[in-house]
């Protein structure tokens, strides 16, 4: 009986030990799955999967990068010279156009003659560039040159300035506009929230009577508890029109609106952490300052705030972290234009918003899907760094003055 009990205890303790590792396991799994899917992007061709690009064999062009392809098919580049070829006009040709040039009979049963017809078209136009399914791509034709497809490179992703994951024939996965959009919105949000949050933190830790504190603290807790989708909704129906009207903008869904809503959301974090840091200033330190004839306010900004500076920095970092990872509210108010941000009063798109908005439409396993996971990895790495640096900053003792 006794032994049975002992064995049972051992088992429970083993179970407890196992569960202790559950968070580590979770993080490990998150890393594995995120990076497995995300890094798959670099194994995807830079032209839409299952398709290839063909040119007339007389064309001296050897390869095109995704941006050039996109520009050609958007008719933004109209001369081969601009992409390193001869001085000739470009004739983009999409697969669908074949059906307007040939009747069904000419294409034969089950489109058996389709590759042949296509090669005829390509042969006829020396300046053509055709975007065709690999299934129907003419093979071993002297007049047709299939451009080699390359895998998406790190440079394409990390240095790319355009995010057009659904563009055909060549989707663009440029991180920069999203990353900058995220930082842009978050940093500006902190710029708004920091003075506000710091002020309230000072008020709470230094000035507020017990009564006022009892009222304000739960208010801040409530502010932290409101779901982000509600903030988003509030932003959408109140702030967006407000910003549009008061600043006389064409649209109200701007980076600025996003920053405003994020600032409100980051406030509780900043206030709580900064207030804690200030409360931790030793009483002796304050009394020494007051005993020297300093006013309360002089004591606050000459002694308390410098002493709490590491805690306040941690508050800022945590606030940035919260803002960077925030999804729903930003998704609902920033307008989501995936362009390089130029001004605060234009629409931007952040990394989390991109994931939330596009994952539903991206087919599982495709390059688009993988690219969104890669964005997730980026987000993961950024927030990891933020939380670790916050920990380091707040642990740093204020041992050295000056």
């Amino acid at each position: 009986m006794r032994r049975l009990k002992r064995i049972a205890e051992r088992m429970v303790e083993g179970l407890l030990t196992l569960s202790g590792g559950v968070t580590s396991l979770a993080i490990l799994l998150i890393i594995i799955f995120l990076f497995k899917e995300g890094l798959g992007l670099f194994n995807s061709p830079n032209v839409e999967k299952g398709y290839s690009l063909c040119v007339n064999s007389s064309n001296e062009i050897v390869r095109l990068n995704p941006l050039q392809i996109k520009n050609i098919f958007d008719y933004e580049v109209s001369n081969w010279q601009e992409v390193g070829g001869a001085d000739e006009e470009i004739m983009p040709f999409r697969f669908d156009e074949i059906f307007s040039q040939y009747s069904d009979e000419e294409l034969g049963e089950d489109y058996a003659l389709l590759p042949q017809r296509l090669s005829e078209v390509i042969a006829k136009h020396p300046n053509i560039i055709a975007f065709l399914p690999q299934k129907y791509t003419p093979k071993d034709e002297a007049s047709v040159k299939v451009l080699p497809t390359k895998n998406i490179s790190f440079a394409d992703f990390f240095g790319g300035k355009e995010w057009l994951p659904t563009a055909t024939p060549s989707p663009l996965y440029g991180l920069l506009p999203l990353l900058l959009g995220t930082l842009w919105v978050s940093i500006f949000a902190i710029l708004i929230a920091l003075p506000l949050g710091l002020g309230v933190a000072i008020y709470l830790s230094e000035l507020a009577t017990e009564h006022a504190g009892k009222f304000l603290k739960p208010a801040i807790e409530l502010l932290a508890g409101i779901p982000s989708v509600v903030y988003g909704f509030f932003g959408l129906v109140v702030l967006v029109p407000l910003v549009q009207r008061s600043l006389n903008l064409p649209v109200g869904e701007t980076a600025f609106t996003g920053s405003l809503i994020l600032a409100i959301m980051a406030l509780p974090t900043i206030i709580t952490v900064a207030e804690d840091a200030m409360r931790n200033t030793p009483r002796a330190m304050r009394e020494a300052s007051l005993a020297l004839g300093a006013t309360h306010w002089q004591t606050i900004y000459k002694v308390v705030v410098p002493y709490a500076s590491s805690g306040i920095s941690a508050a800022v970092v945590l606030g940035v972290g919260r803002a960077i990872g925030e999804t729903m509210a930003v998704l609902m108010v920033t307008g989501n234009a995936a362009a390089m941000p130029r001004s605060l009063f234009e629409s931007v798109r952040t990394i989390p918003a991109t994931i939330a908005a596009e994952l539903g439409e991206a087919p599982a396993g495709g390059a688009h899907y993988q690219s969104l996971f890669l964005l997730g990895c980026i987000l993961f790495v950024i927030t990891m760094m933020v939380s670790i640096s916050a920990e380091v900053i707040s642990k740093r003792q204020y041992s050295k003055g000056v």
Partner: protein, 284 residues
């Protein structure tokens, strides 16, 4: 007297900032309550959406959120409490514990949308649950795990070690001590953590976007492998991409009000519990 004036100005500013924060809170709450209170009715809460979500109620979303809450609590609560017990009572100070602690903190700081991605990759695709209550619950459970662990740890740490030594000195084993002495004393605070996580779960949108939430599904779920609607996602949908956004605005206000009421009720409950039991422990 210059320093007096600057003190006056500064303190006035801080008071105003404090008021501003309260103002913002009341602005948001007031706006939603003012606009949403009219639509709330028994019928709104107990019927399914109709006519392309421009009319009817939000019953499936409420039920869906309830399912998710229950599901994720069943998963996360025991695990989190056990993990917390391990951290406080068993783990010795070493690099393993330090690592676990860092990991727990970091897990708590990962953005919710990343949890969504992860849930989709693991539960929906790899394990093949599809968009389902179980996939969503597991994802949300993971999300609140750090919260539960942290509150459990804090609750346990607040128990003076004299109770433990007292029990051990009477010949109780460590596990008996935990089960009969430590846990009962820490229980109210652990429950606080549970309530807080319920509030968090009900409000999260991003993790359920791709793991469970249905755009429109006017029937109630039958098994844990069904998709459901959920309040936050429903609000998102009717606010941004419904069939007729203008017509469904009142519904959106109503949904936001219900959502906010649930979340704030949970938070206030947790706060009250904490204050109540906090006092009780102190006076003992």
């Amino acid at each position: 007297m210059n320093k007096k004036t600057s003190q006056k100005v500064a303190f006035l500013t801080f008071r105003l900032l404090g008021l501003l924060v309260v103002g913002i809170l009341f602005w948001i709450l007031g706006f939603i309550v003012y606009n949403g209170i009219g639509i709330i009715s028994w019928e709104f809460l107990t019927t399914a959406p109709k006519e392309g979500m421009t009319a009817g109620g939000i019953l499936p979303a409420i039920v869906g959120t309830l399912c998710l809450v229950v599901g994720s609590v069943i998963f996360a609560f025991p695990l989190g409490v056990m993990s917390g017990i391990y951290m406080v009572e068993y783990a010795k100070n070493g690099w393993v514990v330090k690592l676990i602690r860092v990991m727990t903190n970091n897990l708590g700081s990962i953005p919710s949308v990343v949890f969504g991605l992860f849930g989709m990759a693991l539960f929906v695709n790899t394990l093949g649950f599809g968009d389902s209550i179980i996939a969503g619950s597991l994802t949300l459970g993971l999300l609140v795990l750090p919260l539960i662990i942290r509150t459990t740890e804090e609750a346990l740490k607040a128990i003076p070690s004299s109770f433990r030594t007292g029990s051990l000195a009477l010949g109780a084993t460590k596990l008996q001590t935990i089960r009969r002495v430590v846990l009962p004393m820490a229980f109210p605070n652990i429950i606080t953590g549970l309530i807080l996580s319920v509030g968090r779960i009900s409000g999260e949108t991003a993790p359920i976007l791709f793991t469970v939430a249905a755009y429109f599904l006017p029937k109630l779920p039958h098994s844990i492998f069904d998709q459901v609607m959920a309040l936050p996602y429903h609000l998102y949908v009717i606010a941004t991409s419904g069939t007729d956004i203008e017509a469904s605005r009142p519904i959106a206000y109503g949904t936001a009000l219900v959502l906010i009421a649930i979340v704030l009720f949970m938070n206030t409950l947790a706060g009250m519990l904490r204050r109540y039991f906090g006092k009780k422990v102190k006076t003992n």
